[in-house]
C-alpha cells in the first residue's frame, strides 16, 4: 500500500498519466491561453462543528472532518443519513431551499463557505458538483460544457472551443460527440450525459469534485467508465463521492467516512475502515446487517 501511494505521488509530480493522456499540470503547456487556470490552489476543505437543521429535523449533527488532498473520499451510510445534505451544504446549495438553518464552518482554502455571504457565488466555482441523475442544461452539448466559462466571462469562441474539446476529451466523450456538438444534450445516452455533466463541472476548474451517487442511475458499463475516470482525475482533483454500493467504495476509495442518522461515526483510510472498523455500527453496516 505504501509503495502504491508513493507511486501515485510520483506521478502527481510529473503530471502524466500512465496511459499517456495529458491530465494534470501538463495541460498548462497544452493550452497556454486559457485565462483562469485555478487562481488559488485550495488544497484544504475542512468541516468544523457543522450542524444543519431543516425545520424541526436535526439533519447533520456536529460534523467535523478534513478532506485529504488529491484522494477519493467515499461517504457511505444508509439512506437518510445526511450524506446528500452534507454535499449540498459544502456548496451552500441549501440556500435554494427554504427553512435550512446552518451553524459551523466549512473552510475552503482560507475562506469560510458558510459565512461568506454573497461571495459564495465565486466560491462555488471551486467546488464542482456531479449529481445522482445526470442533469443536462436545456442547451446543446457544446453550450453545456461552455456554460460555466460563459458564466465567468469567457466569450471568445475560439477559446471556448478549445476548452470544450479539452474537457470532453478528459472525460472520454470527445470521440463520441464531436460530430453532434450542436444537438441538445438531452439526446445523449444517460451514461454520456453523466460524463458530459462531469466535463461541465471540470470546465470551471474546481479543485474539489463532489459526486452524489454519480453512478447509481447508470448501466454497469457507463458506471465503470465513470469510476475509472475518477481514479484518473484524482491526480489533479480531490474527489468526494457519496455511494450506496459498498463494493464501489472498496474499489476506488482512499478514505472512507461512515455516517449514520446525521452523525459522523467513523472515518479513516479505506484499508483501515474496511478491514478493521472500530465502531460497532460500522461493523454491522459493512457486514450487511442493515443498509
Amino acid at each position: 500500500m505504501r509503495i502504491k501511494s508513493l507511486l501515485t505521488h510520483l506521478s502527481n509530480m510529473t503530471g502524466a498519466t500512465p496511459d499517456g493522456k495529458l491530465i494534470g499540470r501538463a495541460r498548462k503547456f497544452f493550452r497556454p491561453d486559457y485565462k483562469f487556470v485555478r487562481e488559488t490552489e485550495d488544497t484544504k476543505l475542512e468541516v468544523r462543528n457543522l450542524n444543519v437543521h431543516a425545520k424541526d429535523n436535526h439533519i447533520l449533527k456536529n460534523i467535523n472532518l478534513m478532506l485529504p488532498d488529491r484522494k477519493i473520499t467515499c461517504i457511505i451510510g444508509p439512506s437518510g443519513c445526511g450524506k446528500t445534505t452534507l454535499l449540498k451544504t459544502m456548496n451552500r446549495l441549501t440556500d435554494l431551499e427554504e427553512g435550512f438553518r446552518i451553524t459551523g464552518e466549512i473552510i475552503l482554502g482560507n475562506e469560510d463557505i458558510i459565512g461568506s455571504g454573497e461571495k459564495i457565488i465565486s466560491l462555488r466555482r471551486r467546488i464542482g458538483l456531479v449529481s445522482q441523475k445526470p442533469c443536462p442544461l436545456p442547451m446543446s452539448v457544446f453550450e453545456n460544457v461552455a456554460y460555466g466559462c460563459r458564466i465567468h466571462g469567457i466569450g471568445n469562441r475560439r477559446k471556448l472551443k478549445m476548452i470544450v474539446k479539452y474537457y470532453l476529451e478528459a472525460v472520454g466523450l470527445w470521440n463520441e460527440v464531436k460530430d453532434r456538438l450542436n444537438t441538445p444534450a438531452s439526446r445523449l445516452s444517460i451514461g454520456q450525459q453523466q460524463r458530459l455533466c462531469l466535463a461541465r463541472s471540470l470546465a470551471v476548474e474546481p479543485r474539489f469534485i463532489l459526486a452524489d451517487e454519480a453512478t447509481s442511475a447508470l448501466d454497469p458499463l457507463s458506471s465503470k467508465n465513470i469510476e475509472e475516470l475518477f481514479v484518473k482525475l484524482k491526480r489533479d482533483y480531490s474527489i468526494v463521492m457519496v455511494t450506496h454500493t459498498l463494493r464501489q467504495a472498496r474499489r476506488i476509495a482512499d478514505y472512507v467516512i461512515f455516517m449514520y442518522l446525521g452523525e459522523l461515526i467513523e472515518s479513516g483510510a479505506a484499508e483501515q475502515i474496511f478491514n478493521h472498523p472500530q465502531h460497532e455500527l460500522t461493523k454491522e453496516y459493512l457486514s450487511g446487517a442493515f443498509s
Partner: protein, 282 residues
Amino acid sequence: MFFLTVMSLMLVFLMGMGLFLKSAPIFEEHTLGELLFSSNWKPLKGEFGFLPFLVGTLWVTGIAIVLSLPVALLTAIYLTEYGDRRVKKYVFPALDILAGLPSVIYGVWGTLLIVPWISEILAPHFVEFSTGYTVLAGGIVLGVMILPLLTSLFIEIFASVPGQLRETSMSLGATRWQTIKKVVLRKTFPGILAAVILAVSRAFGETIAVLMVCGNMPHIPRSLFDAAYPLPALIANNYGEMLSLPDYEAALMFAALVLFVVILLFNLVSRSVLYRIEKSFT
C-alpha cells in the same frame, strides 16, 4: 354522467355552428376578404368592412401585452425564485383580487383615473388634444386585467422547472439571475409563449372595460392618442339595432364568429402546449 360530459363538449361545436349559421347571410353578398380587409363601414348602405375594428382590437391587445408582459414576468420570477414567504402572503391575495374584479369595475377605474390622466397629463406632451378615450387607455386597462392571468400562469410554469437544473447552474458559480436568464427562461420558453397567447386571446374578447374607455369611433386609429373601436365593443354597442336590419345582424354575428374562431384556435394551441409542459414534469 357520460351524457352530460359529452353534451357540454358539444357546446363548443354548437356555438360555432350557431354563430356560423346566423352569419351566413352576410357571405351571400360579401366575400370573406372584403369583410376582413375593407375599411368601409356603412351598415345602413350594406357595406361591412371590419378592418377598423380588427385593427382597433389588435392595437389595444398589443399595447396590453407590451405593458403587462414585463411586469408579469418580473413579478413571477421574483415570487418563484427570490420571494420569501412573507412577500408571497401579501402578493397572492392581491393577484386574486385583481383576477376576481369584474371587468366593469376595471372600466369604472379606467374612466375615472386613466382617461383623465391621459387627456390632462400624458397627451398634452405629444398631441394637441385628446379626450383621453383612446387606444392607450384601452391598452392600459386591458394590460392590468390580464396581469393576474399572466402572472399566475408564469408562476405555475416556473414552478414546474426541476430544482436540480437551478442547483446545477448555481453550483457552477452562476448568479441567480444568470440561472434564470440562461436556464429557467430558456427551459420555459414554450410555456411562456403559450401563456402569452392565452393572455392575448383573453384580451381579444374583453368587452365592457374597453368599451368604456376606448372612444368607439369606427376608423383605423392613427396614434396612441386616437380613439378605437375594438370588435367586442362593436357587438355590445349595437345589439339593440340588430333586429331591425337582417344584414346588420348577420354582420355582427360574423364579428362574434371571428372572435370565436380566433380565440378557439389560440386557446387550443396554448392549452395543448401547457398540458404537455405539465405532463413532462409530473
